[in-house]
């Protein structure tokens, strides 16, 4: 049953991550003078989001394994 809970947790993380990507990452704009920096900043932010996603997933997994 806990594996199903983990799957639902992963699913919720994907939906939330998508929300953040569309609402925050997508509209991110440093202005016309920094147009070249835009994709770099977005890429770094995306990588940080993935790292955060993995950290939360590890915590969820550890909780389930402990139980």
């Amino acid at each position: 049953m806990r594996i199903y809970a983990l799957l639902v947790g992963m699913w919720a993380l994907i939906i939330l991550g998508g929300g953040l990507a569309v609402m925050v990452l997508g509209p991110l704009d440093l202005g016309p003078e920094n147009a070249g920096l835009n994709p770099i900043v977005k890429a770094i932010a995306a990588v940080l989001m993935v790292v955060l996603w993995v950290v939360v997933l590890v915590r969820m997994m550890k909780y389930i394994l402990r139980r």
Binding site: W11, G18, G19, V22, L25
Partner: protein, 323 residues
Amino acid sequence: MFGGAGAGAAFLAVYLMVPPLARRLEARGMCVPDVMKKGCPPVARPGGPAILAGLAAGCIPLAWHAGGWGVPAMLLTISAACAIGYVDDRRVMAGWFKPVALCAAALPLILAGPYDTSLEFPLFGAVHIPVLYLGVILAVVSTTGNTVNSIDVMNGVASGYVAMAAGAVCVVLAVLGRWDALAFGAVLLAASLAFYRYHRLPSRIFPGDSGALALGVTYGCLAIYGGVEVVAAVAMLPAIANSFFFLHSVRRIVEHRQIGRAAVVRDDSLRLGDSGDPGAPVTLVRLILRRGPMTEAQVVREIFRLGAFSSGLAVLTGLMMVS
């Protein structure tokens, strides 16, 4: 019409090719012991060439209908993935080989593949990432290939699981009205179902790394072609979790055959159980066996239940994209 022709061609090609391929592999001694069975009977491996032939047969009507280089580029990527798996079938390569080589296999898809550089999320809409999307393609191809390969642990699991996940993605593509991608999904569904006929318990043939990578990378191409990367990831959640458990417990990218410690043990009554070895990798099967010893059929059924659950979540995710 062309989708049905492609699916029919893929199903027939795999269905008719596997028996002679298995006989040929057995005659050449290209078999591996099925360690889950009493006496460890030899089973022919790899079935990858039959799967690739089926996918190629199914893609011909699609390429003719769609025109351009999109479908041939996907087929080139799938063929490269199958070849990478075949090398690993014949000779155990280092753990980094498959992820890196699969990134290289994604090049035809990047150069000529049929994709849109927007990533679509449920509820919130799409985000346009023209540069980042190239990284998404590399990640999708490498991840889907390796996750399907990592779930290929018992009779029928890889092909049955891919059929289930591809079915869920096809439902979503039908709801979204993306008919060309749906036809490609039907080819994958047909090829995996035809292979499952021989791969299910007790297996007549194993897909091997070549078959698992071909199925996984085709699934990745389907996700990119249909613009349903998130839906496809959700349908694969148990397989992704399995890879994640494994990587987190061994803390390095390593070929599972190179790990000396057993996560699962078999008793005299052919029931499987958790080895209890804290140094052995954590896997989905091991977590399932925490409930107590089970037969192989029971474990396979439990994995398919998880697959059905995540496929349901994937369809729900797709419906959330419509609204």
